[in-house]
Subunit: 327 residues, 2 copies
DNA sequence: GTGAAAGCGCTAACAA
DNA sequence: TTGTTAGCGCTTTCAC
């Protein structure tokens, strides 16, 4: 019942185990005819090399982990699922196995997972990073930077994203732009917040403190905040939201107040998630190529694993505004 | 530079490797004081048992795969991400490692992945299943059933979901209900389709062939179909859509025609995805507990792995209508 | 181009 | 309760 081993193949094909091994991992080093005999025996026995034994002998596992570092809420939102997909694709094509988990769950398990690298997506905690470094596991950060560590990180061009959004609104004639900021990871929140301030300044717009609102990360919270904003006598005509969910909240609030978009209120979101095309009017949003971010993460990990020394520390992925009918 | 091994710990703590091994895998079989000494030595050396070596010796890997079987489009939509999350959670708590991939990518890699079980989500192809069985890998199906095989499968109660949706519409006074069917996996499509026919009959509603529309799985396709439907002189007052994306398409089309929801048109979706609460009006939809489905998948796999013989073949997860303002 | 044999780090009889 | 030791299936020198 147990699986055939290299010994079985060796016996059946009449060559040594060393040759069988080579036939599978360095085919060019074994003579054509021999190789053929090995393959025939192998397929007759339905043999496949054991990844475990191979890892054991080679002292490497070709295994890397993708950990979502995010407290609460659903684990795989669309954005992280996109990064995950990019990582997965690239991992598969590079013959790496991908373990997917959350940072929380990962840490609960004491046993070493024998991974060679870890991609931490989101708000990676310093102690987790330190732990990996102690175990000599290569680390790459996605959508986050961790000041204390010298690690490759893949981030989106937050500043440019916000700038594009605001420029578009300005081009539509808006001068007074409100911002609805959500509580995301500390990095994203502060980055996007500062980008807003900087872009407003760059565009020569006056900043009204009262038109900067904070809310949680759910739509309902956004609806509340937006209602307060839109109820004001001198309400803003344009709103930039931290992501599409919040933007949807703003649109809901606007609808309930009977406002027509984009004429009476312009709304721009962020992430260009699938919901943008489900709303009416469709939501103008900043597109982030999260799959690409995932691929880059894998590229950085493999570079580190190959001992490359000049791996880029900070890779900024360009973003672009997708103009639709909400603004 | 290389990691400490069980020999290092054995030497430092002055006990045999067997005892060290036991201290980690069967703590109760080693005396308190000895155990303590082992742990001290281990942590002094920063030792962690190698999962590879353990797998090699034990002849088991504690590794299972979650494969998304779905052609095209994005790999991890919200529904599958939910199942994946459930599987992940349970896998972590049971100390299994989870490899996540797509069926396509998986098959491209010849080397054996040494998994003990595979959870196939979606449209699992018979040849893939057969291949796993040949390799003695346990298989469980999620959101799918494969007639040719005797496998545990976890599915949602499609029939009841549709019935609840239609009952609700009937309770609202609707008699003439249209259906917008999308091309999903063959199983889901036919299941939901037949459920509609059966439920209509059960509720004593007359079935008008012309009010059953097919479309692709994207919102735009749904908008087109819905427009054709709503442009008719004798247009329906209620639409049941195969999922929330299609329902959103219907709402878009309705909006563009100036129809007011739910008074002039009632819409019900399926899946209760996050978009339901982002739309205005919020979308009434059939809630499917996909995380639960994922957990059940893991439970079935572990039952199989433990050699249990009476593992349920067909587990139907209950669903429930979430009534909101669209119908 | 191929073979012999020594590991890789751990587990599980079996013995003490 | 603890120790001895023979594997687990493969890779990789080092010979030939």
């Amino acid at each position: 019942m147990s699986n055939p081993t290299i010994y079985d193949v060796s016996r059946l094909s009449g060559v040594s185990t060393a040759t069988v091994s080579r036939a599978f991992s360095e085919p060019e080093r074994v003579r054509e005819t021999t190789r053929r005999r090995v393959y025939e025996a192998a397929s007759a026995l339905n043999y496949q090399p054991s990844a475990i034994a191979r890892a054991m002998a080679r002292q490497r596992t070709d295994k890397i982990a993708f950990l979502i570092c995010k407290k609460g809420a659903t684990i795989l939102d669309e954005f992280y699922a996109g990064i995950c997909e990019g990582v997965m694709r690239r991992a598969n094509s590079l013959d790496y196995q991908l373990i997917v988990s959350t940072a929380e769950d990962w840490q609960r398990i004491p046993q070493s997972k024998q991974i060679e690298g870890a991609i931490l997506a989101g708000d990676a905690q310093p102690d987790l990073i330190a732990e990996f470094q102690r175990q000599n596991v290569k680390v790459v950060l996605a959508n986050h930077v961790s000041p204390g560590f010298d690690l490759p990180c893949i981030i989106a061009d937050e500043y440019d994203g916000v700038r594009q959004a605001l420029s578009h609104l300005v081009a539509q004639g808006h001068r007074q732009i409100a911002m609805l900021a959500g509580r995301f990871s500390s990095y994203i929140t502060s980055e996007r917040y500062n980008a807003f301030l900087a872009a407003m300044k760059e565009l020569g717009l006056s900043l009204d403190e009262s038109s900067i609102l904070m809310c949680e990360r759910d739509a309902e919270s956004a609806v509340q905040a937006a209602r307060a904003l839109l109820d004001r006598p001198n309400r803003p005509r344009a709103v930039f939201a931290f992501n599409d969910v919040l933007a949807a909240g703003v649109i809901k609030a606007a609808r309930r107040l009977g406002l027509r978009l984009p004429d009476e209120l312009a709304v721009v979101g962020y992430d260009d998630s699938s919901v943008c095309q489900l709303l009416e009017p469709e939501l103008t949003s900043v597109h982030v190529d999260c799959r690409r971010m995932g691929e880059l993460c894998m590229d950085r990990i493999t570079a580190l694993l190959h001992g490359e020394t000049d791996v880029p520390r900070r890779t900024v992925v360009p973003v672009s505004l997708r103009v639709r009918s909400s603004a």
